[in-house]
Amino acid sequence: MELADSVFMFVATMLVWIMTPGIALFYGGMVKSKNVLNTAMHSYMPLAVISILWVTIGYSISFSEGNAFFGGLDWIGLNGVGFEPGPYSDTIPHSLFMLFQMTFAVLTVSIIAGGVAERMKFSAFLLFTIIWSLFVYAPLAHWVWGGGWLAQLGTLDFAGGNVVHVSSGVTGLVLAIMLGKRKLSGENTPHNLPLTFLGATLIWFGWYGFNVGSALTINEVAMVVFVNTAVAAAAGILGWLVIEYICSRKPTMLGALSGAISGLVAITPACGFVTVPAAIIIGLIGGAVCFWGVSYLKGKLGYDDALDAFGLHGVGGTWGGIATGLFATTSVNPGGANGLLYGGFDLFWKQLVAIVATYIFVAVLTFIIAKVISYLVPLRVNEEDESLGLDITLHGEKAYHESI
């Protein structure tokens, strides 16, 4: 046990924690004012539902010893998860590691909300997140971090590119397709960009805890992660704005925020394995491909990924996974591997396997879960509720009140 590490992980946990309300604000500012509360609720409820689920069973089936695909049931109800360090770190309380991971489980679900905004039923979404968290997130976390087959294969995913971002992005995409387009999907006029600014700020702020905290201590790797995270976000902004400037001569604020998040998503799997210049390149390209994802790909394929859960997290996470396979070097992290540019064709290949496996697993399971739920509750609100707004029809509230 090392007290300073515990303090560090307490801080990291707090930082990741605030990303979830950050997502709620980020998304909330982008929808129409009649849907802001519903959208924020989608991203906020995981703090209630997934947290309880996590201590009850989620943590166990993610992280306790099991087979290559599922964790075991040993740690159900936090049985055996106490102050004594667990298998994942000798220097911090096991329960602290569990809480740190709880914030990841919560966050992942809250990202999904971006794909379904402005039309999914609250009850259906709630139900979906519970089942999804158990049957998709938990196994995935086990595969990568809990000693499952992807870990055994030797793929690299430092802070959760696949587990958190690709998974939530692909889920958002599948749900968006299943739900169909919003009635006025063309009118993407964010009702309150300062709110989105604030949300993006909290997300970025928390991301330092997400990435650096994933080192579980402040060591040499952690410091590289810290620098890489800072510069990749910066480069993501530049990457996005440059393309945007080329396309329309107008560098936007929403673009800057989206670029920062793109850069952060892209560096997430790679941050502990690559050099600082590589991080800048990953961020730059991250900003650019995510711009392409939201402005071209989405329009081309015609799905209504309302707030770009896939456009940012799916596309960015995919690029990040590939980039790890390109830029990783053992000179940065001896515990890692060499990527393609350092002669490691092997790693590159494994990274692709991991990404493809994640896509398939997540997409199929999401489809099945949503299909099953649709027999219990309609996934989508009716037309009238959609046009009146989900805040008033589902929650009996309005976000803003004027004097009359």
């Binding site: 009118e187 993407n188 945007e244 329309s248 936007t252 929403l254 711009f291 939201v294 456009g311």
Partner: protein, 120 residues
């Protein structure tokens, strides 16, 4: 009471409103009501882009100023409005003139011309 009550409704840009208001007071206008509106006319629209998706916006921010007068000559108000709001560029707006049947002052119950008088 062959008095004529006229409502002058000015739809224009918000910019010069403050000075205009002060000038109106000088010529004896006793009250103004103003609202934020959106307007579209001959003026070109502008573009908004969110995450690469561009939308042409043709509604501009305008204000609608309503002035009901009786003794104050309508033409004088029109002249003032043209003086302050004419920029020579499309989008300057229009002035609409209506006749009223009556006006009542809520506080005193006075009607017509009396309702629009500046007490002191």
């Amino acid at each position: 009471m062959e008095e004529v009550l006229t409502k002058i409704e000015i739809v224009t840009r918000p910019e010069k409103f403050d000075v205009f208001k002060q000038e109106l007071a000088k010529i004896g206008v006793s009250g103004i009501t103003v609202a934020e509106v959106k307007g579209t006319g001959l003026q070109k629209g502008y573009k908004e882009t969110y995450r690469g998706v561009t939308r042409e916006i043709s509604l501009h921010d305008r204000i609608k100023i309503e002035i009901v007068v009786c003794e104050v000559p309508v033409q004088q108000v029109i002249d003032l409005a043209r003086k302050y709001f004419n920029t020579g560029k499309p989008g300057d707006g229009k002035i609409f003139i209506y006749e009223l049947a009556n006006v009542i002052k809520i506080r005193t119950g006075e009607e017509g011309r009396a309702a629009l008088k500046n007490e002191q």
